[in-house]
């Protein structure tokens, strides 16, 4: 494949973003209103291309480098689009479509609504959104730490701006500044890790890094069967990289910004934050772990210890527990969803922790493949079910009728008036909890499977057992699912069971400091029609409704219909064959790599 066709989806998005920038500068309101349509078209086109590519690319040979720019025509290109990358691109673009629907401008008056602050410049907003998605696509294809870093930054930098302009309220700007400064800090830490990784392996190419880390015999054949030991330097590099990625993934200990930032941003932007940066962090982490472990995932010491514990295990348990406990303590529904997003990162880390123990259990237990599949499946599942919850939140109006709902008081009793919406919220919450017949349940099942398999698998002779660690992991996942059920059910119960009178503004603890309702000449769209007409079915809210419908349909479809689940599962399965195309003997090994590995 030539470079252009390899980068076709990214290029389409970049061109569309440039066009949107020009649209945003237009003087005509009509052409500015075209912006979301253009963004949607670009995403649909790229999504279709991606579907075609995933379908066309059968075996693991459909992949990687391109003529012309790779170093010796071998595997050293900065891009490497294997099935793993194709899958990540596919789900990012699919969820990107839902996110665009969710962000469809509904708030013409630019009030401090948690719907998108439209005003007159949706063009720039959607341009930033497309560019952020482009960053995620490039992270998926990156085979070089420079491209990985730039991709992560391209995915993040637009989100800083999106957060701070999403609402004309001080809270949004505060959230944007907080997010930006901590993001720059995390980027610096990540970069320091990258610099040491580069220095200790002598390469910026992830593939070369993997080759240089692993021992090889006299004839240059790499020994993928030995677990490497990291030098103190490399350990430091790995720790700092994991810390940098942890910020993007919202993993403890760099999760603390989540509550404030997710609350301050407008709801569609919050939904965006809970998927795109998180996915970029997870993809980058998987790439790093792959480079360290090689195709057999023999991850080295600080990441996983011989008894099954280790860095990933600790992070997984801490992240799940901290996220869920903090989620219980919130009164603002957006903050609840924020900390639940932390908890879901924890579940995905748990699958990675199980994956890391695959080297200590008998290969028959199949932990290696199921672990990676679980992460990839859960990423898609979380993206799908989460959007519905945010969409419903955006459609329901707050007590004072000026804003979209944010606190539990806002939601109280709303389920009686808007049964279908509340039911959608219930489906999403059940799915996020992991109740059967939803995609969340399938995801949880897949997360638990590798950990359980590692816990009951036979330990090969001469190795210590990972059984206690993995048993604890499974138990803690279960406990956390139960804790999360408490606050998800609280959302549903508030919608249906609490009465509206109960939540009087004067008595309610109203801690999210909305500014006093402003005198506004035209009022707000949703609020305007709040009582005479059902506000949910105006022309403006249709895209959001569509996003909710698609999200709920996806949640139920992938959870209930086995063939649909299988479809996603098959995609995940082929994507998890990340190692499929690694030759054991390397024809194009450059002299430098050989010299460096001596």
């Amino acid at each position: 494949m030539s470079l252009l066709s390899l980068l076709l989806p990214e290029l389409i998005l970049i061109v569309a973003a440039s066009g949107l920038l020009l649209l945003g500068l237009s003087n005509k309101v009509a052409s500015r209103r075209l912006a979301p349509v253009v963004a949607m078209l670009a995403l649909i086109v790229t999504f279709c291309i991606q579907i075609y590519r995933v379908k066309a690319g059968g075996g693991p040979t459909q992949h990687d480098t391109f003529g012309g720019i790779s170093r010796d025509g071998s595997i050293y290109g900065t891009l490497r689009i294997a099935e793993f990358a194709q899958y990540i691109k596919l789900i990012s673009l699919g969820i990107g479509i839902l996110l665009t629907l969710l962000a469809w401008p509904t708030n013409d008056d630019a009030t401090g609504n948690s719907a998108l602050h439209f005003g007159h410049d949706a063009g720039e907003f959607f341009a930033l959104m497309l560019l952020s998605l482009t960053g995620l696509l490039l992270v998926a294809g990156a085979n070089d730490i420079m491209l990985l870093f730039l991709g992560i930054e391209l995915a993040s930098i637009p989100t800083y701006i999106m957060v701070s302009v999403s609402r004309p309220l001080p809270v949004a700007q505060e959230a944007g500044v907080k997010y930006f400064f901590l993001g720059a800090f995390a980027a610096a830490i990540m970069l320091f890790g990258f610099s040491y990784l580069y220095g200790t392996t002598g390469a910026t190419n992830l593939y070369e890094i993997m080759l240089n880390l692993h021992p090889k015999d006299a004839s240059g054949i790499i020994d993928w069967g030995t677990r490497i030991t990291l030098t103190p330097w490399q350990s430091l590099a790995v720790l700092m990289l994991v810390a940098g990625f942890a910020f993007k993934m919202a993993v403890v200990p760099l999760h603390f910004y989540v509550g404030d930032v997710y609350q301050g941003a407008a709801t569609p932007v919050t939904a965006f934050l809970s998927f795109v940066p998180k996915a970029s962090g997870f993809v980058a982490l998987i790439k790093l772990l792959f480079a360290l472990g090689g195709p057999n995932w023999l991850l080295p010491e600080p990441i996983v210890r011989a008894n099954g514990t280790g860095l990933l295990w600790v992070l997984a348990i801490l992240t799940m527990t901290v996220g869920n406990v903090l989620g219980l303590l919130q009164y603002n529904v957006k903050r609840v969803l924020a900390f639940s997003s932390v908890a879901h990162s924890g579940y995905m880390m748990a699958a990675l922790a199980a994956l890391a123990t695959s080297q200590f259990v008998s290969p028959a237990s199949n932990v290696k493949t199921t672990g990676l599949q679980a992460v990839l499946f859960y990423l898609a599942a979380y993206g799908i079910m989460n959007i519905g919850a945010f969409g419903v939140l955006q459609l329901l109006s707050a007590r004072d009728g000026k804003d979209s709902a944010e606190t539990f008081e806002d939601l109280a009793g709303k389920g009686r008036h808007h049964v279908s919406l509340a039911l959608s919220m219930a489906v999403c919450c059940f799915s996020l909890t992991g109740i059967p017949l939803t995609v969340g349940f399938m995801g949880k099942l897949m997360i638990i499977k590798p950990a359980l398999a590692a816990a009951i698998a036979k330990t090969p002779v001469g190795m210590s057992s990972v059984r206690p660690a993995m048993t604890w992991l499974v138990v803690i996942i279960m406990i956390n699912a139960a804790i999360s059920a408490a606050y998800y059910l609280r959302i549903v119960a508030t919608l249906f069971l609490r009465s509206e009178e109960h939540a009087h503004p004067a008595t309610a603890p109203h801690a999210a400091p909305h500014p006093a309702p402003r005198p506004h000449p035209r009022g707000h769209h949703l609020a305007d029609h709040a009582h005479p007409v059902d506000p949910l079915f105006t022309r403006h809210t249709m895209p959001i409704l569509l996003a909710v419908i698609l999200s709920v349909a996806g949640t139920l479809l992938f959870g209930m219909i086995p063939s649909a689940t299988e479809l996603l599962g098959n995609g995940v399965q082929s994507a998890a064959r990340i190692e499929g195309d690694i030759p054991q003997a390397l024809p194009g090994l450059s002299d430098k790599a050989v010299a460096a590995s001596k």
Partner: protein, 103 residues
């Protein structure tokens, strides 16, 4: 001993990085916090250039440094946009003054 080994440069890089880290965590003025992230970036780039030089003149380090400079410049312009925007609302750059978002 060679008067200038790789460690010397790495030590300078580490010192700049850690000073920046300390500053970011302790100082509460947004502009100073931003300058501290710049210090951290400088520590990183010294590492990269030194590694590139001592790794058989590998160009990866220099190329990476250029990308880091691009990102740093991009973040600088963004930081100023955001900071000026906030300052017009609060008339202060004290990071503790923005406490509207609380759990």
């Amino acid at each position: 001993m060679d008067p200038l080994a790789l460690q010397h440069y790495l030590a300078v890089g580490a010192i700049l990085f850690v000073i920046g880290l300390i500053g970011f965590v302790t100082r509460r003025n947004l502009i100073v916090m931003f300058l501290c992230t710049e210090l951290m970036f400088q520590g990183v780039t010294i590492n990269l250039v030194a590694f590139g030089r001592y790794l058989n003149n590998d160009l990866g380090g220099q190329a990476f440094t250029i990308f880091v400079l691009v990102i740093a410049a991009a973040e600088a312009s963004l930081a100023l946009g955001l900071v000026v925007l906030l300052f017009r609302q609060k008339n202060t750059l004290d990071a503790d003054a923005w406490r509207e978002l609380k759990g």
